[in-house]
Symmetry: C2
Subunit: 266 residues, 2 copies
């Protein structure tokens, strides 16, 4: 059964809009993702939305039918509404024709199984949701197991992060922890912690990477705290030929991540 | 002489705010850049702002004094205003204490000298100003000569692109051209055109890169048009281990750019 919503002031519209706000997401334990491709990725990874919102004016698509059937079978709700209301919900001028509400995942370190992958990305105090989503997307591409968020990072379940992840929010494991929790967890098993660094570092190419390799990048403007870097097993540096002394955080993670991939596979 | 501005409705404030709009930037032939570090990079690269706007409540700094002296010596205007008004001008909640208005550069292909660098970044229909700025920043890091923007790209002089470039908008050459202009220009001199591609491509590691190497990435959602790819001298592909079939455009340019750098220097 589809329910039709035509009014901006409908309580469900208000609920959906409120999910752009971290406080409301945390209270409800859910997040919003948009787009047929992303929702199909989610579905194929076993994540079925609690609520599916579709634009009335949409092109028919077998994947959308499959999605709707899965949501209905799981007891979820299917809503039809106008493109204008969808735009208001997602905060995007040209909204996708479909969006879904998903339960947030367990992001405790205890839920991570480091044995599932040879590369893990780790970000400390990453503030930009676009960078966070891009790191998830890169993690998917290099076959990383997931992204570990240390200290106060942007919310991986924000609309912006989910959008930038291009679906990788559903394929990558995500954990959130303070440094004081992360370090003992890391040292409780195998794992090489590698920092992108300018201090006392070796060239990133040909450095002695070892699996499982945890690639750590720091905050966008301050980089990593010195004591965090000193706790790493390896500090590597990328060439900086120009005036700048650092890369965008998501770029640094990608350049280093691809190098680690080549090294471990080579 | 400093001029003090206290009102939001002051014509200069309106003029400065209007520069967040591309239409107004083009009409005036100027753009806005914020932050002492960025303005100092600009100054050291020979770009002095026509107008310097400083927050009244700012920490004194010798680099700010040097900047103010240069602006005054060049006949420019120095303005003091409140943090609130600066915030309104730059559209940022926590504005930097200083911003400058700069004349736009010549972005014709004719102004590029390909002999000045062994790597050039090229983006086609790049729509996200953050990606554009990040590519400029990466170009600076890998010692690229500049960024060539093909077809309809985001404006490199938008506040978002300038901010994401972290000053590289002043250190990298920038050109804008249609594909129909770019290709004859490229072929009029030495240059290898390399596409990040999924079609008929060789692995990006160990590919036969040659200087001057022009690294081409396509639009964020559509990638490169097929005929553009076919016009390239080399098509390379990066491993995609997960579900996604592409990287963020700025990430792809960086991973490939660093590989080209290592290849040409190795």
């Amino acid at each position: 059964m589809r329910r039709e919503i035509t009014g901006f002031s409908n309580p469900t519209v208000k609920y959906l809009r409120s999910l752009r706000d971290k406080k409301h997401r945390k209270r409800e334990g859910v997040f919003l993702a948009e787009g047929l491709r992303l929702l199909t990725d989610a579905r194929e990874c076993g994540h079925v939305p609690q609520m599916l919102v579709m634009a009335e004016a949409r092109d028919p698509h077998p994947l959308l039918d499959a999605l709707e059937a899965d949501v209905a079978a799981a007891g979820g709700e299917v809503i039809e509404t106008s493109a204008d209301i969808l735009s208001k919900i997602t905060g995007k001028d040209n909204p996708q024709a479909v969006a879904g509400v998903f339960a947030e995942f367990d992001t405790s370190l205890a839920a991570l199984d480091r044995g599932t992958a040879t590369i893990w990305l780790v970000a400390q105090a990453l503030r930009d949701p676009g960078n966070l989503g891009t790191m998830l997307r890169t993690g998917d591409a290099i076959g990383a197991g997931g992204l570990i968020l240390i200290d106060d990072c942007a919310d991986p379940f924000s609309v912006e992060a989910v959008r930038a992840s291009m679906g990788a929010v559903f394929t990558q494991a995500i954990a959130q922890a303070r440094w004081e929790e992360f370090l003992p967890w890391l040292r409780s098993g195998p794992g090489q912690l590698v920092a992108a660094s300018l201090r006392d570092a070796v060239p990133y190419r040909g450095a002695p990477y070892a699996a499982p390799c945890f690639v750590l990048v720091g905050n966008e403007s301050r980089g990593l705290p010195e004591d965090y870097e000193l706790a790493c097993d390896l500090r590597v540096t990328m060439p900086m030929k120009g005036r700048a002394d650092s890369l965008n955080a998501a770029v640094a993670a990608a350049v280093l991540g691809y190098e680690v991939l080549a090294s471990l596979e080579g």
